[in-house]
Amino acid sequence: MNRMTSRTFALVTTVGAVLALAACDQPAPPVAGAPPTMRLLSESQYRNVIADVFGANITVGGSFDPLVRTNGLLTVGATNARITPAGLEQFDRMARSIADQVVSPKNRSVLIPCTPTVATAPDDACAAAFFKQVGRILYRRPLTNDEIQSPVAVAAAAGKDLGSFYEGISSGLAGMLVSPSFLFSIDTTEPDPAQPGKTRLDGYAKAARLSFFLWNTTPDDALLTAAEKGALHEKKGLSEQVERMLSSQKIEGGMRAFFNDMLAFDEFSKIEKDSIIYPSFSAAVAEDAKEQTLRTIVDLLLTQQGDYRDLFTTRKTFMSGPLGRIYRVAVDRPDGGWMPYEFPESDERAGLITQISFAALYSHPGRSSPTIRGRAIRESLLCQKIPDPPGDVDFSLFNDPNSPNRTARERLSVHATQPACAGCHKLTDPIGLAMERIDGAGQSRTTESGAPIDPSGDLDGVKFVDAVGLGKAMRENPAVPSCIVNRMYSYATGRTPDRSEKVLLDHFEKQFASAKFRLPKLLHDIAASDALFAVTTPESKSAATNTEKDDKS
């Protein structure tokens, strides 16, 4: 144990606790599942896979086509994503660049398991050994003979033309990296021996689901070996792998990816602040704001094994130099790095929604926005859909520079009286206004245009006096744990749960509550459930489609 990091020790302890709780569990109710899918790798998954296979020193350049956020998650949108011609060009460029780096004189001796007979000519045996080895991880399953011979043939032809074994390997590898078998996580199925006439995900597809869910990357050798042996079809084998994965350091990367998606932190790549109004807000602040929230989450939920709901009330976080300038907090390592920090009890900062990330991301470039913030809380954290504003909405009263209404509350009170706007603003504004003492860059303030800011309000009937009070109200709101259960299940399966799965979600929620809302328990329950892998057979596809239509109606 003395060689274990504190994080690893905490995770191992967590898994132990999870196992103890799992022993008392009620079995999850069965679900029909959904048709098999092809899910496009996200940018972070692509980068993680390349790093896992070839090492972190391989540079992945280029840009990725954006995914469409569906049911609050890009991961769900990835299930329906297609590769555009321009996107394919990008993948091709990235593939060639990666392949060139892999065969470079600096890397070839480490990454290619054999040495060609002569470096100036093709060597099919060596090429086959290389493609077989990397293909298993890239495609997340063993390659067929044809799948091995195809890049070998490309490598032979290119190697002959170019007079270089390694140039040939580069061409063959580049081809593999634009293959759908690499770019998509494909649900491959096989007949289900337990249910004649039905199909199930094969072991490799299960391994991929597990790995992308928990680690946000490709399965490792142990998981693929378990898949190969059929262990993932058995409760014991599956549970062993889930426990191993939950104990791994990689779980942190997986959970960072989930919360990055749930909180829509991909939007940080587009965040802009008016440097005249907010001179202290910089690219470094934006980057650190996102990192602060993710560190807070990882620390509370994984390292400390805390209650998920405490994310909305915790005063414990981490501080960096750039953030210290915004929070106006002394930082003992302003030259870089992070330090643990706890806001004092009397401070108006507590919980994720008072952090710079949330306040700045859900604001305009030059001012805050109670409506955008309120909507973000409703949609991202409570899983409640707020309709888009009508196209012809009249903002003139809100934006009137000569208005006597100095605070956002006063301006919104006028704007929100318009019948077309009132319905949604009643949902968003009372909670968004609670954060008005944090400006559009995440800085504290007590007045706006010289008028005092009133941050009081109510959340679904629970009154509060400020943002800290809103966090407390959120902590006790049943929609909060319900939402993360929904989102986590959607994230794991890559689809929006349908009505028939409500019983299952209720079950996960109940188990989550019984475990004092510890995240590892929820992860274990979903990862070790049959529901994660449930797929419908082709015959029942029409029925599933009907269900989906019903759900949308």
Binding site: R325, R328, D332, P334, P344, E345
Partner: protein, 382 residues
């Protein structure tokens, strides 16, 4: 708007102190009910030279530089010989000119080896600064030599600033001159010689009869925004090897109607500029600090006695930079000793320091002290 230091009639320290006090609360919540601490980092530091619109204070114009003095003293034959018939670059000329002592000595390092024309000094009547010696007639006292006083910008009589009289007609020391601009840009870009000001024991933000003001050197570089402006409320660690601050002079002060004023005290301030590290020992220094409306910025003036030797150490080391600053070390050396008005040498009776003033700007900052265990470790070593 930030008013000139010596002419302001309204101050805004109170609002700032209230704001910064709440910042200090973040740092040390355990001290919430007790005195507060305020911090600043000095961003620009300029010799306090009052510059009138038409440079009336220098009726004969600015001084000429050392290389021009050298050039004027050369025969036509020497000019041709020393410049390869005029083909040498100006930079070569600068290096030749600086070594114009009779035996090739560097005249900035050895200012007494040549006799140059006397320095043109300030003849104006108005100056930045304070009445350091307590009298308005400039007469000698046990701690001072006789000198001519200035009137402050706000009409204050008896202002002592012989440094202004000495340097005010040298282009390089003016606010737009090479010495001052270069030094400020040096510090801004490399973070050397940054001064931190910490005010502790602030009970009442508007009027406090007793606070303490400490000066430290920072080891972290300035935090700048995207426009290259100094960012307020950044954190700066004190230069404290082994947990012991390298600097740390302290003076008592008070806050009157929101303006910080300190008692006179000897302080040692860090300095870096024009590629020179040095200590700035300022005797009888007193500080006045005025804050901007938004509380994030501040402007101050430090006034006190600055040693002639210390000044010549700085100026003497500047070497060829003096060419673009249009300055001449030997002339300054002679004038500095003539104009010195403070701290007479007990043996010779000649004064060794110049009354001076420095205008500076600052932004609010968090000053990070060494952790207690670092201090303990350092104490143990001692």
């Amino acid at each position: 708007m930030i008013m000139p230091i010596a002419s302001t009639s309204k101050h805004h320290l109170a609002g700032f102190l209230g704001l910064a006090a709440s910042c200090a609360f973040f740092v040390a919540p355990a001290l919430a009910a007790g005195p507060k601490t305020l911090g600043f980092v000095i961003t620009t530091w300029n010799t306090g030279l009052y510059e009138s619109k038409f440079i009336d204070e220098c009726p004969e114009g600015f001084n000429v530089g050392y290389d021009e003095i050298w050039w004027r003293g050369l025969s036509k034959a020497d000019r041709a010989r020393l410049t390869d018939n005029g083909l040498k670059s100006r930079l070569d000329r600068y290096f030749n000119a600086i070594r114009r002592g009779p035996n090739g000595e560097d005249v900035c390092m050895n200012p007494t080896v040549v006799k140059d024309p006397p320095l043109l000094t300030v003849e104006g009547k108005v100056s930045y600064g304070a009445n350091l010696d307590g009298n308005a007639d400039g007469s000698a006292s046990p701690k001072t030599c006789a000198h001519e006083n200035f009137t402050g910008l706000d009409g204050t009589p008896g202002v002592d600033n012989q440094m202004y009289r000495l340097l005010g007609c040298i282009y390089g020391f003016r606010s737009y001159g090479q010495f001052e601009v270069n030094a400020n840009e040096n510090r801004k870009s490399n973070g050397n010689g940054m001064t931190l000001i910490e005010i502790t024991g602030v009970d009442d933000a508007k009027n406090d009869k007793e606070v303490e003001v400490a000066f430290y050197r920072a080891i972290d570089q300035y935090t700048l925004d995207g426009g290259g402006n100094f960012t307020p409320f950044a954190s700066y660690r004190i230069d404290a090897p082994g947990g012991v601050p390298r600097y740390g002079s302290k003076v008592k002060g008070r806050i009157e109607d929101g303006v910080l004023l300190t008692e006179a005290g000897d302080v040692n301030l860090p300095f870096y500029g024009n590629y020179t590290y040095m200590n700035q020992e300022i005797k009888d220094m007193r500080l006045r600090l005025e804050l901007s409306d938004d509380g994030a910025k501040a402007r101050g003036m430090a006034s006190g006695y600055y040693g002639v030797d210390q000044l010549m150490f700085y100026i003497g080391g500047l070497g060829p930079i003096s060419s673009t600053a249009i300055s001449n070390c030997p002339s300054i050396y002679v004038a500095a000793h003539e104009l010195a008005d403070g701290y007479p040498d007990p043996k010779t009776g000649k004064c060794t320091a110049l009354s001076s003033a420095y205008n500076f700007s600052a932004v609010a900052a968090f000053i990070v002290h060494p952790k207690p265990n670092e201090q303990t470790a350092a104490a143990d070593k001692r």
